[in-house]
Symmetry: C2
Subunit: 191 residues, 2 copies
DNA sequence: CTCCGACTGTCAACGTCGTTGACAGTAGGA
DNA sequence: TCCTACTGTCAACGACGTTGACAGTCGGAG
């Protein structure tokens, strides 16, 4: 509803920005980038679509400013090497049903946009692959780190994008005990 | 896909359909679903945008009718169990630089569309997970099969969507010898 | 105090998108 | 010959992201 405010006091820019950002975060994480319109964000925030663009530059920039990849693996990455696989798989599995998992799916699907894809790639490189490279011993540390990331992101894809029923239904200890050895094949140095 | 019945048909109809389908396959695989407009497909095919819709129902149906996931793993899935991991990883790595890999990325990003996501999920379930389930021995065969698929699709994501430089640059034997043991941790029965 | 410039918000419009319906041309069967 | 079915064209619709002009409102300078 766009009835004019009964009290014509001017609102602070920061408050409106915040309302827009919150509405955008909500709608983007629910519906994804393409299916969320600037006009619907503006309506949810009680603002005008033109104002949304003026404040954030473009829909793409608004997406990047509001959708943030939760650092789900930050803590797990600090576990001792022998526990690392279990911690990483556990962190991934525990994302089932959370908003962070939906956000990952949304980001992955929006990665066709150049800026979004670059931003996502950077987050994975800096937040996941590089920390792994620093800790792995033995040959091919960089390739092994990239492949460990592929294993974890493949699991997140199965959960978030494809909705693999077997993986969504399985008990957490089962998934961890089955998948962790596969990560350990890359984490533990090859004799 | 399905030609009109051998009833009276104007000669150029099938040819026009074919030209549209070819232009669509080309543009979709190059630019993805969202960035390819029906009007650009029509222009590339020398046809009218309205005709494209009349022949294929909608842009989404045209996408599904023309973009097909190449059965890249069909042959590898028939390898003997001890060779399975090597064959599967080899098949994935050999997709580097091919159109089939681009198509996978395009499909993955378009999986926000309900029909596309469902179609992709079905292809992975029927073409990859179920064949694996039938061959795996030991406990949790279904979960292990889903996780093997996650490993392979995670690798394809890294190559097609994120463009992981380490994985794109690595020699094929390196990737195979490093990643195959990780798949074997799920393929070979647990004692 | 008034006046001014900066800021906040609104509105209409542009060009593009997917899609629809009406319409013209044409070929084959009656 | 007319009739019908099909192929292709055209203009238009509503929705989209984005832009520019414009109005209301405030803080501070004179």
């Amino acid at each position: 509803m766009q009835l004019p405010e009964s009290s014509p006091f001017q609102e602070s820019s920061a408050a409106t920005r915040k309302r827009i950002a919150e509405a955008a975060a909500q709608l983007f994480s629910e519906q994804g980038f393409e299916k969320t319109s600037v006009r619907s964000i503006a309506a949810a925030a009680g603002a005008d679509a033109a104002l949304v663009i003026r404040y954030f530059g473009s829909k793409e920039d608004l997406f990047l400013a509001t959708i943030q990849l939760h650092r789900a693996f930050e803590q797990a990455l600090q576990a001792p090497l022998p526990d690392l696989a279990v911690q990483l798989v556990g962190a991934a599995v525990q994302m089932r049903g959370t908003r962070a998992l939906r956000v990952y799916g949304v980001l992955m699907r929006a990665s066709g946009n150049k800026k979004v894809g670059h931003s996502l790639g950077e987050a994975i490189e800096d937040g996941m692959i590089q920390p792994l490279v620093k800790r792995l011993q033995g040959a091919d540390a960089r390739v092994r780190s990239s492949l460990i990331a592929a294993q974890l992101l493949g699991l997140l894809d199965a959960l978030a994008l494809r909705g693999d029923e077997a993986l969504l239904a399985a008990a957490e200890p089962t998934l961890v005990s089955v998948y962790a050895p596969a990560l350990n094949a890359l984490i533990l140095p090859v004799p």
